[in-house]
Subunit: 212 residues, 2 copies
Amino acid sequence: MALPENRKRARSDDEKEARRGAILQATRVMIEAKGFEGITMNAIAQEAAVSKGTLYLYAASKEELLLALFVDAMEQVVARIEAEATADTLADVLVQVPATTPLFLPLLARLFAVIEKNVADEPLFENKRKMRDMGMRVASVIVRLTGAPLDQARAASMTLMLAMRGAAQSDVLARRDLTGIPEDLHPMFTKENFVTGYSVAVRMILAGLTRS
Amino acid sequence: MALPENRKRARSDDEKEARRGAILQATRVMIEAKGFEGITMNAIAQEAAVSKGTLYLYAASKEELLLALFVDAMEQVVARIEAEATADTLADVLVQVPATTPLFLPLLARLFAVIEKNVADEPLFENKRKMRDMGMRVASVIVRLTGAPLDQARAASMTLMLAMRGAAQSDVLARRDLTGIPEDLHPMFTKENFVTGYSVAVRMILAGLTRS
DNA sequence: CCTATAAATGACTAACGGTCACATAAATCC
DNA sequence: GGATTTATGTGACCGTTAGTCATTTATAGG
């Protein structure tokens, strides 16, 4: 991901892409290490072994870095759903793939309220279009595997997205260590909270589909 | 909401409650005026005609102020649902009440990712319990109006909450003025986005209920 | 009126995202 | 291969804002 040993500046497009990749990877590392609220541009710069100014040659803001990570993760999710889902496993795959794609849930949980609020219009629009397209691809999978009519599949796909967004929120609170949390609230603070809640929604939504 | 004319300090519990109310109201005013991202503690203090330090006598952080506003709004929402819903109008009421209760959607959209992230454990736990209770009250309404068995009503209520959280996210992007936004993306940026998306979800979820 | 209590103040600090004048690596030219 | 040009990279600096705390003073009680 880094530049060749004896090169300090990225001049060609390939080199720029490599540097951008290194910066994104450094961002991932920092999220892993410090948690989502702990990341700072200084720390990312240090991890990527560049100066802070350089970060701003490759992303207009901290949030555009995070948006780029989200777009990556979202593409992985949809690609995996297309590849892995069968008629028998559709519901399971729709739940498990988002739950297990690295960084997808924490990024989705913060997409609207945190990330998109400081992104310029152009990348924002581009991301919105991409999300719409992803929704369509999921609708196609639903049509292919259930035989439902396209308009129903589209409505189901949009509703799935809604529920997934809602369920992803609980990822923010999820803690590895539940000590200090009252017994009766444990279910709300476990890592499994997303899967538990979203499973129910997925099954309800898919159950409403009819064959065309 | 303010203290009596010639009193500058709140000594009794009543006076403290009044001051707290004034601070919360000032926060509402500032959100209205500057938008959610534009609010600052300095501005709230000025609007409430107290010093910044005083704010911290009544709330441990900016986010605890916002959490208090959310709890208020949430209580209004559930109370209105209980009061207004009938067997015929249940779906409509479940959509319209959240959509029309002041500040409810913007606060819900930011509840997990923005507000709760800077709230001490105790108020956080209290809020979680309150939300769980609200969910139970909605489940009761569903039982009463549809005759569905309690466990089904509970699952439906939890799923409704999920979908509502997801749908509320779109409120963050909603703009009054759509100029500058590409035609094809207009639906995603309108104020009606919440109602449009959530209606579908509510009807799907309620349709799955059976009479006991 | 005097004293004790605690509510209120606001200058100050720390932290962080973002900027920009300047330094210099690397490509290009002769 | 030296000179010139281009634009990448740098990091000290800035503005903003949440939050703190030593100090002030309104109010209650004696």
